[in-house]
């Protein structure tokens, strides 16, 4: 019988808030004008989730991931995914070793054996190579030659992909997309941010980022997130939201071919807890769920071709879901409506 973890105490919440504020402040020095993206990246990492960042080249996706790795003091490795990349190039290969004891195969660990794996342009690798990450992302282990090798803890895959140059690319299959906690869109910067970038950056130079959170402190934060209380009414809201994404379950899902899975519900719960901790609360709230709904559900909802032809987007479907599904379990009667509160 599982025991309900003790919610974080006031002291723990205060310490966590201080650590996270330092982390975010550091990341804001790496990437200018992307505060909401940074908040979501930190929440995703706190939820122990893998992140997929999609944006045009040169927006700082790779810089953000490298800065995060440095700020957390974790080991990070970068893999540039190319069409000729093999699965063994990621997970590792058995190497024939000739020693005094004789010849034997020794597993040579690949770059996946790290805390943070930066998978650049993941959609350029072949599906076979992409699938090599499936077990690693889900199970946090690698199996080769019948031997299972555990990955370091914590382990995150922070992948990037380019929404243009789709020729010669391999869109991630739904099975792998479902393993990313967040799919974040990186947008271009306004002129004032560009001006700040021009004044503070030089082409080809990386900002120096010092660790602001130690490994142990980060592990404690990860454990603290799991102790954040998820109220039953919030869990009910998550369940209704995910169910409503199924085809025909709601008006918003009219053009949906495949809805979100139970893994999406778990992802929502984890991300809501992480955001609750980020905002110094010992519990998750409806607002937390609504804030992380789009990054969690956007890449898990598959539209049918008619809806795509009509210009529907998964972001629009998620927005309609949030408008249609109320926080309370019962709908209001027709004689009443919620008032707009400024």
């Amino acid at each position: 019988m599982s025991t309900v973890p003790q919610p974080p105490s006031e002291v723990e919440l205060g310490q966590a808030a201080a650590s996270l504020n330092r982390l975010i402040a550091t990341l804001q020095t790496v990437l200018f004008g992307q505060d909401e993206l940074i908040e979501l990246v930190v929440s995703g990492v706190l939820a122990r989730g893998h992140l997929l960042l999609e944006g045009l080249p040169g927006l700082g996706k790779t810089e953000l991931v490298k800065g995060l790795a440095h700020a957390l003091g974790l080991q990070a490795r970068r893999v540039q995914f190319t069409p000729d990349l093999l699965p063994g190039d990621i997970t590792g290969n058995p190497i024939l070793e000739d020693s005094a004891a004789g010849r034997r195969f020794v597993f040579q660990r690949g770059p996946v054996f790290t805390n943070i794996l930066l998978a650049d342009e993941i959609n350029r690798a072949s599906p076979k190579t992409q699938s090599a990450l499936l077990e690693a992302m889900q199970e946090r282990r690698v199996t080769s030659g019948g031997d299972t090798h555990a990955l370091p803890d914590p382990f995150f895959v922070l992948a990037t992909q380019n929404p243009i140059d789709l020729e010669g690319t391999y869109p991630l299959p739904e099975a792998q997309l479902d393993r990313f906690l967040f799919k974040l869109d990186v947008h271009s910067n306004p002129p004032e941010v560009l001006k700040r970038i021009v004044l503070n950056r030089e082409l080809g130079s990386e900002p120096a980022v010092a660790p602001v959170i130690g490994r142990e402190e980060f592990s404690a934060l990860l454990a603290l997130v799991r102790r954040v209380h998820l109220p039953e009414v919030v869990a009910d809201y998550i369940a209704r939201l995910v169910y409503a994404s199924q085809p025909g379950a709601s008006a918003a899902s009219a053009g949906v071919r495949f809805g979100a899975s139970p893994r999406a519900a778990l992802a929502l719960a984890a991300a809501a807890r992480a955001r609750g901790l980020r905002h110094g609360r010992p519990h998750a709230s409806f607002e937390d769920v609504q804030a992380v709904a789009r990054p969690v559900l956007g890449h898990r909802i598959i539209l049918d071709h008619v809806a795509r032809l009509d210009g529907a987007t998964t972001a629009g479907v998620v927005r309609q879901l949030l408008e249609e599904i109320p926080a309370q379990p019962k709908p209001l009667p027709g004689t009443l409506a919620t008032a707009k509160i400024a």
Binding site: S285, L332, G334, A337, A339
Partner: protein, 449 residues
């Protein structure tokens, strides 16, 4: 589980980069019990309002249904002139019963305080603090200075139902009741049939007409009178009664004219001179009296002189007396026939005998031939009875015979002759009364406008 929360030192609060997180995490606790009481009372009030709304959504259409039924009942009772006290009491009881039933049915849609709390904190964006405070994770948020409205009523539909229900009840209670338009059931026979029966009774008393012919008319009148009252006033029955009355009047008038003609012939015989002329007139009159639609009494006919010899055999006083009797009888018949008899006289070209020539002219038709007998120079002019056609040669003048035709009492009478003057002018429009159909009457009126 309640926790004793300490406020963070100000320095540490400033280091927090997310001000909202600080204020949301550790709101100033004015009074734990008052804050809790405030939020719980608001939650309860919100749930109560939502439940009233859920009940109203069901009760309004149901009340309209009840009002519809009772509106029909009220209007029906008003039409019957029954009292409505019990109905109003029943309506009130029905509304209460329907309202209770709707409340019972709407219970599954009712909000519990927990549901209302969730709605309240989501609308006020309290980050589920009320829920967390309920389980003791965080302190109750402070009561706001001004509580915004969480819900707004959408009463268009319920008000519409209620207005329609009230309108139905008001219409049923105050709408004017139309007067009873049940037609008065007539009693007795139609006036035209009564007139016919009176004329026949008078004719029978005078004993001038052939009893058998009178009996035929009486049989037809009795056949019409034997029908049920509703049938007697049907269109076809009224038409038949009118036709029978007209026929009786015309026949009586024709009989009267025949008697008058005979009386004139007898008087002219006393003027002296040749008796062949008066004898011829008398013979023509007798022919009409014998063969008319209403033949004269056989006994009467037997007593009248049929030839010049018979006339010669009578003394002048006898002829005058007989003429006077015939004239009196004719006058009586004119009184019986009334307008018909007078109208028939107007149609005559002169007031003398109506015989149109040798053999006599038909005197049943309103349009009579010339009274003067013309001498066609054909020698012996004599009247021929019906059927004796072997004696006719081409070119011989024939007398007109009026064959009485059976009038179907059930058939509507067509005008015998359109435009005929059947009655003397009684101010002008009585001429057309008994001869034209209503359509023709209207057309003629339009023509003379």
């Amino acid at each position: 589980m309640q926790r004793n929360f300490r406020k963070l030192p100000p320095a540490r609060r400033r280091r927090t980069c997310h001000p909202a997180a600080v204020s949301a995490s550790f709101p100033p606790v004015i009074s734990h019990s008052s804050s809790r009481g405030f939020w719980e009372s608001r939650t309860t009030a919100l749930a109560r309002r939502i439940n009233v709304g859920a009940w109203l959504a069901l009760a309004a259409p149901a009340a309209f249904g009840v009002a519809t039924l009772f509106a029909v009942l009220v209007y029906a009772l008003r039409r019957l002139g029954q009292p409505l006290d019990v109905v109003w009491l029943s309506l009130f009881a029905a509304v209460v019963a329907v309202g209770t039933a709707c409340w019972w049915r709407a219970r599954r849609r009712f909000f519990q305080p927990a549901d209302a709390r969730v709605l309240l904190e989501s609308q006020l964006r309290l980050d589920s603090r009320l829920t967390a405070a309920t389980i003791g994770l965080v302190p109750w948020p402070a009561a706001p200075m001004a509580m915004p409205a969480i819900l707004q009523w959408r009463l268009h539909a319920p008000l519409g139902w209620a207005a329609a229900a009230l309108a139905l009840i008001a219409g049923a209670a105050f709408a004017p009741i139309p007067h009873d338009t049940t037609p008065i059931r007539p009693t007795g026979s139609p006036p035209s049939l009564l007139q016919t029966q009176e004329m026949l009774a008078a004719l029978k008393e005078m004993q001038m007409a052939e009893p058998q012919a009178l009996q035929q008319l009486e049989d037809r009148a009795q056949e019409l009178a034997r029908r049920p009252t509703e049938e007697q006033y049907s269109h076809s029955a009224l038409e038949a009664a009118d036709a029978l009355r007209d026929q009786t009047e015309i026949s009586a008038a024709a009989l009267g004219r025949g008697l008058e003609t005979a009386a004139n012939a007898l008087r002219s015989a006393n003027d002296g001179g040749d008796l062949s002329g008066p004898a011829g007139q008398l013979a023509a009159a007798l022919s009409g009296l014998r063969d008319g639609a209403l033949p004269a009494n056989k006994a009467l006919l037997a007593n009248l002189p049929a030839s010049a010899g018979d006339l010669k055999n009578l003394t002048a006083e006898q002829r005058a007396q007989l003429a006077q009797q015939l004239a009196n009888a004719a006058k009586g018949l004119r009184g019986i026939s009334g307008a018909m008899g007078a109208g028939a006289q107007v149609a005559q070209s002169d007031g003398e005998a109506m015989a149109g020539g040798p053999g006599g002219g038909g005197d049943s038709a309103p349009l009579m031939l010339a009274g003067q007998q013309s001498d066609a120079g054909d020698g012996n002019a004599e009247a021929l009875g019906a059927g004796d056609l072997k004696r006719f040669a081409l070119g011989d003048k024939l007398g007109t015979m009026s064959g009485a035709h059976r009038v179907d009492p059930n058939a509507a009478e067509a005008p015998l002759q359109a435009g005929a003057v059947a009655a003397p002018a009684k101010g002008g429009d009585a001429v057309w009364v008994n001869r034209l159909t209503p359509t023709e009457r209207a057309a003629v009126k339009n023509f003379f406008k």
